[in-house]
């Protein structure tokens, strides 16, 4: 990634907002936590309501069923007594009228009595497991009823057999009435028990309903509280979110300001360095002219001296004269020669610094470039270098179109092509390949050679001014790569190198695809 996007990687490093996003995450976790708590509390309350309603509903249903059963027993007791009364009444009618038709209700009552008695016996144990009305009481009542019916039956037989007066005596003896009174008392006692139970059940039902209502009210109140709580939490967090967003916006605009400030600082520092280089190189030139000038003066003076010594010493052969001649013929020219070569070298270095600082000062002029044409021009301009080295140069694939400064770009590419030609090795035929591609905001040119390579620990050093790598057997000042990198950086990119140190080198040139847009956006 870094190798692919040197520009993006560098700008990416600025994007460093300490703590901002971390704080945000904690904040959201808290918010989600609160809401989950609220929701589970609400769900719990609803569950309690549902369960309670179900339980209380069941209980009320049971209580209602019990009340119903109690009233049924009450009715059965009444019907039972009614059957007995019907039988007695029917018997009396027969005794008075002596007509069989009056006995019809008596027969019905007999059947009804047995049925009602059976049902009563069946129903009584159902009511609260027979605890409310004792089965013995009911059996006693039924026993009394049977006895009453026996009495009636006996009277009827007396009447049918003509002993009607006997029957009347029995009736007036109050035996039947006593039995009937006992039956009524038993019935009343059973009915009272059933009624008490029914009333108790009704009260219990009311109590259950009241409890349920209370529970529902409580839950409703809790839900209201929870909803209000959730609303206030949401409200508070929304406000916090807004505040955080405002803070973030402020931080962002602050960041932009800071980036602008830094960029300005860098631009200023860069201008200062260029001015510095320019002034230094100019000020260095002045004494250099003197040294060169007076060296030349010395040379001509030495020449004058040499001629004089030669004339004077013609034919002489003393050792002192020989020493003077040696000094003037050998030592002085040698010293002057070293001064001169050193000066020439220093002259070259100063000129290069000057060129660098001038390249930095030159205003960039972005123009649409056909990279292929530009590359071909660069290759053609140093064609003789490849021919001398016996190397082939080829452009592989298509080269991207871009908007950049043609002079600066061709300077970079020519430097790198020249380097490729310069550092080939004799034991394999030189082969230089140029490729191009687009990588995000950059256009990339790769210049690959199969030369002697650059040792990995020299990969950064070679871009320093006046530094070179490997055997120092080729001419050069160690300027070209420093210059190329400085230019590429001005064009919104960089120059990087890949090499294993023996089988060849690839230089990657990155430049902004659209230098005009880059300059418009405030980069210098």
């Amino acid at each position: 990634m870094n190798a692919e996007w040197p520009v993006a990687a560098r700008t990416g490093a600025i994007d460093d907002t300490p703590g901002g996003r971390g704080g945000m995450r904690v904040f959201f976790r808290g918010f989600v936590g609160y809401n989950l708590l609220m929701m589970s509390l609400g769900a719990g309350v609803l569950l309690v309501i549902v369960v309670a309603a179900f339980l209380f509903g069941n209980r009320v249903q049971e209580q209602a069923g019990d009340a119903l059963r109690a009233s049924r027993i009450d009715r059965l007791v009444l019907e039972l007594i009614g059957d007995l009364v019907d039988a007695e009444t029917s018997q009396r009618g027969f005794l008075i009228t002596d007509r069989e038709s009056y006995l019809q209700p008596y027969h019905v009552a007999l059947v009804e009595f047995e049925r009602d008695a059976a049902e009563l016996l069946r129903r009584v144990p159902e009511l609260d497991d027979g605890r409310v009305v004792q089965i013995a009481t009911v059996e006693h009542l039924i026993g009394l009823g049977r006895r009453k019916l026996e009495l009636v039956k006996h009277n009827l037989e007396l009447a049918r057999t003509g002993r009607i007066d006997e029957a009347r005596d029995v009736i007036s003896s109050d035996v039947g009435k006593e039995v009937m009174d006992q039956i009524r008392a038993d019935g009343a006692s059973i009915r009272d028990s059933a009624a008490d139970y029914r009333i108790a059940q009704a009260a219990a039902m009311r109590a259950s309903a009241d409890t349920l209502a209370l529970l529902i009210s409580l839950c409703a109140a809790m839900i209201i509280v929870l909803v209000m709580g959730a609303a206030s939490v949401v409200g508070r967090h929304t406000r916090e979110l807004q505040a955080a967003r405002r803070a973030l916006e402020a931080a962002n605009s602050g960041l932009e300001d800071r980036v602008r400030e830094r960029t300005e600082e860098i631009v200023r520092a860069n201008q200062e360095v260029q001015r510095y280089a320019y002034i230094v190189s100019h000020d260095l030139r002045a004494p250099l002219v003197n040294i060169m000038g007076f060296t030349a003066e010395l040379e001509s003076a030495a020449e004058t001296l040499r001629e004089f010594v030669e004339r004077q010493g013609a034919g002489r052969d003393d050792p002192e004269h020989a020493r003077v001649r040696a000094a003037i013929d050998v030592d002085v020219p040698e010293a002057l020669g070293f001064i001169r070569t050193s000066m020439t070298r220093m002259d070259g270095l100063i000129n290069e610094i000057l060129k660098l600082s001038r390249a930095g000062r030159r205003a960039l002029e972005p123009a649409p470039i056909s990279a292929r044409e530009l590359m071909e021009t660069c290759i053609a301009s140093i064609r003789h270098r490849f021919d001398e080295a016996g190397a082939t140069v080829s452009i592989e694939g298509t080269l991207p179109e871009l908007v950049s400064d043609p002079a600066a770009l061709s300077q970079i590419l020519t430097n790198l092509l020249d380097n490729a030609a310069k550092y080939l090795v004799v034991d394999r035929p030189g082969r230089i390949v140029v490729r191009g591609r687009i990588a995000g905001p950059s256009a990339v040119f790769d210049i690959e050679d199969n030369g002697r390579g650059i040792a990995p620990n020299d990969h950064e050093r070679i871009f320093d001014l006046f530094r070179r790598a490997g055997v120092q057997d080729r001419p050069g000042d160690g300027i070209g790569l420093a210059h190329s990198r400085a230019l590429a950086r001005r064009l919104g990119g960089d120059v990087t190198v890949d090499s294993d140190g023996h089988s060849g080198t690839v230089f990657h040139v990155y430049v902004a695809r659209d230098l005009a847009a880059r300059l418009r956006s405030g980069h210098s």
């Binding site: 100019h282 002045a286 000038g293």
Partner: protein, 148 residues
Amino acid sequence: MSRTSTPVVIVMIEDDEGHARLIEKNIRRAGVNNEILIFRDGTSAIDFVFGNGSAGRGGTECARLFLLDLNLPDMSGIDVLARIKADESTRRSPVIVLTTTDDQREIQRCYDLGANVYITKPLSYESFANAIRQLGLFLSVMQVPEVD
């Protein structure tokens, strides 16, 4: 330098003593024998030319030619040039700017201000000596207007 009624004085404003000496030597080698006055900084040269100091308005009676370096210790040579070209008594005197700077903007400014010739001091001494000798030859044939 062709003589009319009065001899032309060469006023050299050059802070580097070595340069001044080399320039003088090479001009002489070209056969120019006019008087050469050397000033090491702008102030003393201006004092001499315009008489602002103890030197008085020295040399106003003779025609002058200026050899001007731009990098001076006390002021910019451009200020001196502006001053010469602004003053009625000196504005017709030829000014030859002889300096190390080859910055296009500097060169333009000098010509804008009325410099007559702009020469960049070549770095190699051979070219330097050659240039100065040619300048000497040039001086020997050029006409300088007389003082009014």
